[in-house]
């Protein structure tokens, strides 16, 4: 029996998770389009965002202050990662840099395990209250926070990329780093900025999802990979593409879990990944994925 109510329910949960995938996917897109690096540690930024939120909340900070502090800390960490590890070998083959970021992600996960332990930590919802009913679906209040914050971040990013000097410089680097350098743009600063931005995006995703999923040291891997799938769905170099990809993946997963089998829910993303890479390779979808690497 699959009524409208259930479909509405799957759609609602899919959209909420999709918003998180979109935020993480945007981090991948910004780093990849500027630096041509796939930053495997992107998911760990999400994990750190969630766990830092828990710690700041337990220290008694109000939600807004905790979010700001979390985002600032993880953005700083993203910048630090770029300066300390990526910058020295920026000219190495792409695969070497990928392995380096895998190393960074493992180190971050291990450090989180030492600091926070294995037990999942709960974070109270940003605003308390019973779940809401929208068009027959039940939505937890935090779900609306996820969608609201994600939308606000999308708008901010749009403003940054199209209306500010720094944002335009980042886009110039993404289009053609050499030409950007000739125009006097400090390309290595843009690398730093891209990593800090992706850290901030990961932290936001982690902070808003933590009240729904709990925060654990090992949540980063899967969330990061799914964010990558979202980014790939959108062509890997297109911010709007990553947003659409994120929601599409969230919905697909939610429908697959509800209508087919929940055991394979996590496998859906990876089937999508392989299919999308091959289809883009064959040139049937827009996106520059196939030209790269």
């Amino acid at each position: 029996m699959t009524g409208w109510a259930e479909l509405a329910q799957y759609t609602a949960s899919g959209l909420v998770v999709g918003g998180v995938y979109a935020l993480i996917g945007l981090g991948f897109v910004i780093v990849y389009s500027v630096t041509r690096i796939i930053n495997f540690a992107q998911g760990e930024f999400v994990m750190l965002g969630a766990l830092l939120m828990v710690s700041f909340e337990q220290a008694g900070l109000p939600v807004a202050a905790a979010v700001l502090l979390t985002v600032a800390s993880v953005a700083a960490l993203g910048g630090l990662l770029e300066r300390v590890a990526i910058h020295p070998i920026a000219s190495a083959p792409a695969l070497a840099v990928l392995i380096l970021t895998i190393g960074a992600s493992i180190a971050m996960r291990g450090t989180a395990l030492i600091v926070w332990g294995t037990d999942p930590s709960a974070l109270p919802a940003f605003s308390p209250g019973p779940p809401l009913h929208v068009l027959g679906a039940t939505v937890v209040r935090q779900g609306l926070w996820v969608l609201g914050v994600a939308t606000a971040v999308f708008a901010l990013l749009w403003f940054f990329f199209t209306r500010t000097y720094a944002g335009t410089a980042v886009r110039a680097c993404a289009l053609n780093a050499r030409a950007a350098r000739l125009m006097g743009i400090r390309v290595d600063r843009m690398f730093l900025l891209a990593f800090a931005l992706s850290g901030a995006l990961g932290a936001v995703a982690g902070a808003v999802i933590a009240p729904i999923t709990y925060a654990t040291y090992d949540m980063g891997l899967m969330l990061g990979l799914k964010g990558f799938v979202a980014a790939t769905l959108g062509g890997l170099v297109s911010p709007p593409g990553a947003i659409v990809g994120g929601f599409l993946l969230g919905l697909l997963e939610s429908y697959a879990a509800g209508l087919v089998s929940s055991g394979y829910k996590d496998a859906v993303a990876f089937i999508v990944l392989i299919v999308v890479l091959l289809v883009q390779m064959a040139g049937w979808l827009p996106g520059r994925v196939a030209e790269e690497a």
């Binding site: 590890a85 695969l95 380096l100 291990g110 089998s261 496998a267």
Partner: protein, 318 residues
């Protein structure tokens, strides 16, 4: 290394393995040697893929799992002879690699790495969810050890003989391959794919062949693992194991066949050293946590300071 010198080294190593397998009494040391051998066998294939075809597979654990489960299911659930199952496991590993490689080797570099990662994770979920055949999360038990007549490879010493004997054989054959026309073609592909194509090398086919070989050798290691432990479940075959195999190849140095062995030994010994040292420091958390951090930092440090791996040290003036 000339072919003659290589086989001399291998025969010397074989004699050493025979003596160690018979002489060492400590099951702790022997068990460690078995695991070094198994990981080295899996890393051997991956080092061909990484060092010679210049590609990274982040889903190599899947082939290990395929080898282990084909062997396990055929012997424990269907009563096959162990060697027939082992052969089937190797064939399954090669066929899986070929079937997966055909589409995904049209990608290259980063995208190939990510696609292979996706494949590895899908295999993992199949193992967990297809419980009618694989036993689900709890896995399979009652896998018989391999045997020749009445001689069963059921003690650690005998498994050392089996695993290291096969590993040395593979190293010898791999060495022949690297020195052959195919090996030269592979190195040319690694040097410059465009240049290799310009001199008439079918690079796509060559890379696919290497990936298939790697699938087969990794599946062989998986099959031996299943017959050694006699039980298997999906949890050791996740993404972490794929990364560990990459770590072994990176640590050992991807451009040498022995690099995989070196890397496997380095990883196993490092883990054991940590497990025995850390409790002495009376830290708040167990060794496993520090092990993870250390692996991550090592991987980063090697990529930054010693991208050629441990095998590189020999060639560098100190």
């Amino acid at each position: 290394m000339s072919a003659r010198r290589r086989w001399t080294v291998l025969i010397a190593a074989a004699i050493l393995v025979a003596l160690v397998g018979a002489g060492v009494r400590s099951t702790y040391v022997l068990g460690m040697l078995v695991f070094i051998g198994l990981y080295a066998m899996a890393a051997l294939g991956l080092s061909l893929v990484m060092g010679f075809a210049g590609q990274v597979s982040l889903g190599q654990a899947a082939f290990f799992a395929i080898g282990a489960y084909v062997s396990g299911v055929l012997t424990a659930s269907h009563g096959w002879n162990g060697w027939a199952a082992l052969l089937a496991a190797v064939v399954a590993g090669a066929v899986a690699a070929l079937l997966i490689g055909l589409p995904i080797f049209r990608l290259s570099g980063l995208l190939l790495a990510m696609a292979s990662l996706g494949f590895g994770i899908i295999v993992y979920y199949v193992l967990v969810n297809w419980s009618g055949v694989t036993g689900g999360p709890s896995g399979l038990t009652g896998i018989p050890p391999l045997a020749v007549g009445r001689f069963r490879f059921d003690t650690d010493g005998r498994v050392v003989w089996l695993v290291w004997g096969l590993l040395l054989l593979l190293l010898g054959l791999g060495g022949n391959l690297v020195d052959s026309r195919i090996g030269r073609a592979l190195r040319a592909v690694h040097g410059s794919e465009t240049a290799a194509e310009a001199v008439g090398i079918d690079t796509a086919r060559l890379k696919l062949a290497v990936f298939t070989l790697a699938g087969a050798s990794t599946a062989l290691a998986g099959s031996l693992y299943a017959h050694y432990l006699t039980f298997i479940n999906p949890s050791p075959f996740g993404f972490t194991f794929s990364v560990e195999l990459v770590v072994m190849v990176v640590l050992g140095g991807a451009s040498s066949l022995w690099g995989g062995v070196l890397g496997a030994a380095a990883v196993v010994l490092l883990v054991e050293a940590l497990r025995s040292l850390l409790p002495l420091l009376s830290l708040s958390r167990g060794a496993a946590e520090y092990e993870i951090v250390l692996f991550g930092l090592l991987l980063m440090a090697f990529m930054i300071f010693l991208p050629g791996g441990l095998a590189e040290l020999r060639r560098r003036p100190a």
